[in-house]
Symmetry: C2
Subunit: 346 residues, 2 copies
């Protein structure tokens, strides 16, 4: 592979500079993406390998990131498990028949991923061919708790209180559903790897809504199974936004990397997570709306705080749709220029 910085960072090698990519880098801030969004529906873009491939490669060519991440959505999993999922542009996900009771659970199945999600693996094979070893490809899935949030609440929420109430009032039912999602996700990620994903990231977007005990019982318990099942095949990155309090148990899962958001300093993240794991993050996505000189200065501070060992430069959450492309490029370029900085260090 021509650029294997990401994989080397995940292995813990000391490299000339940190690798850089951005969560949601294949997305709405790119005019080239918006052109395709005008022409094709969201799931059409996910389900058509040629479109998914084109979108996945856009940020490699346009902003020069060090890794590609599969263009898809975490909600293809509940879809494959039997639930209807709609993605309404600018309104977010909508599941018309969410899970509320034991009888609702009968509508949910652990699918044969090769039947239901074949289009993802086809996209991965095509992307790998088109990438032609220029950079690694990151596969991904949602964490079971985050998937349950949508399956139960039926839509986005600030609090996901209905999803939580489901777990608190019907804990055995919740455990059964979480285990079904976990089993599906393991099969799904294993097939992503078989199709060519070089590493996988598990996104627990709503992990930060849970207190430490609930995070262990409702989320991390299942993430741990996923990491255990995958970690001998590829390095696994876990990103539970907001779950700073559980960086240590997350590091102990066997993950190779941990995503962190901007609300924790590099020093605290390293202290909490320990030395044997790669940290990934943690630029405030809203800061990409700053003037470019401010972005450059803040990126340099971030890299100085994390260093180039066991570190992957990224945002602390997905890139915002209103970020100018040249600001995203300034972020990436400033990380790349840190090579000079590290070379000059005594």
């Amino acid at each position: 592979m021509k650029n294997d910085l990401l994989l080397r960072a995940l292995k813990g090698e000391t490299i000339a500079r940190p690798p850089v990519w951005m969560m949601r880098q294949a997305g709405r801030y790119l005019p080239e993406y918006r052109v395709l969004r005008e022409k094709y529906g969201f799931f059409e873009r996910c389900q058509t390998p040629e479109l998914a491939c084109e979108i996945t490669l856009q940020p490699i060519d346009i902003v020069g990131v060090d890794a590609a991440i599969l263009f898809s959505d975490i909600l293809v999993v509940p879809q494959a498990m039997g639930l209807e999922v709609q993605l309404v542009e600018s309104k977010g996900p909508w599941l018309p028949d969410p899970i509320k009771t034991e009888s609702d659970l009968k509508r949910v199945r652990i699918p044969d991923v090769n039947e239901t999600l074949q289009y993802v693996f086809d996209a991965i094979r095509l992307i790998k061919k088109e990438l032609n070893s220029r950079a690694p490809l990151i596969g991904f899935a949602g964490a079971p708790w985050t998937i349950l949030c949508y399956m139960v609440q039926g839509k986005g929420s600030k609090t996901f209180d209905e999803a939580k109430a489901f777990c608190y009032t019907q804990p055995e039912l919740a455990a059964r559903l979480l285990q079904m999602i976990t089993d599906t996700t393991i099969a799904y990620l294993k097939e992503q790897v078989r199709a060519g994903a070089d590493t996988v990231q598990v996104f627990d977007s709503w992990g930060g809504l849970l207190g430490p005990d609930d995070f262990e019982n409702i989320s991390l318990k299942y993430i741990r199974q996923i990491v255990q099942a995958l970690k001998d095949e590829v390095p696994v990155i876990v990103f539970a936004k907001g779950a700073w309090h559980s960086l240590k148990p997350m590091a102990d899962t066997g993950a190779a990397g941990l995503g962190i958001d901007w609300c924790i300093t590099a020093g605290n993240a390293r202290k909490f997570a320990g030395d044997n794991i790669t940290l990934q993050g943690n630029f405030d996505p809203a800061k990409l709306l700053s003037p470019i000189p401010v972005i450059q200065q803040e990126v340099r501070s971030m890299i100085k705080a994390f260093g180039n060992k066991r570190y992957i430069a990224n945002l602390g959450h997905g890139i915002l749709p209103n970020v100018p492309v040249d600001h995203a490029r300034a972020f990436v370029d400033t990380v790349k220029e840190s090579e000079v900085h590290f070379a000059a260090m005594p």
Copy 2:
């Protein structure tokens, strides 16, 4: 005062049991509140002292909390400063003409609070009379950063990226606006105290959206001024949701109490904040949707973890509208019963 547990907890006295109140306790989960909501608009309820008084006292009578908190809204401050603020039921706040540029700032003034917010002080005097020393009254205001969020973004947001971008791209303008809000808030809270508020809480609902450095520069710097101006008159409680990383500097402001959310353990909160401050929180509001026996068990665990010294039992955020009243009462009653538990301790 017949029940001064809250004030004694804020002073650091060891008491028989922790006092208990709930953020948003005067609100939508109460049928008695919903009756008034049907008849009067939101700001009508805030601006009519008899209505504000009746709503403020409802949770004292109905669920038996140890303190009343003024029924009002943090957005009366931007309203008094010259901006139009609408509160659309179930949609949230809406400011039709938000602040974006230097010329927009000309529409903002530091008002005479006795002219613009007289109705609040009238409500406080009436509440104090009706409370008749049964329990203390908590006054409040939003933190300047949180108020700026609405003034700039114009509505609720998951990320308040436009408010952040305003601070990052026009830092001097942002500092001027933050200082104007701070000056207004100090005058406003001083008059609340003069009218009879026994303590005041500063709500930084969106403090947790800022990284540690930004939190200091954009938020805490101004909260500190407010605490300094008020702390010799009444004990001040600061609640910056999600800002666990800054509990120490927040404790150092001179505040008597710090609100904390449910994503931090009692042990970590005490370790980070130090021993010389009262902690307030931190029950997950969604957990009030659990069956009552689960609520009772979880409340007991919480109190055991915090103890009865320098602690006020509360939620980690506002009570949700869909919480049954008997669940709220179970929360309050379980805290009150802890007196027996503490008495039995060796």
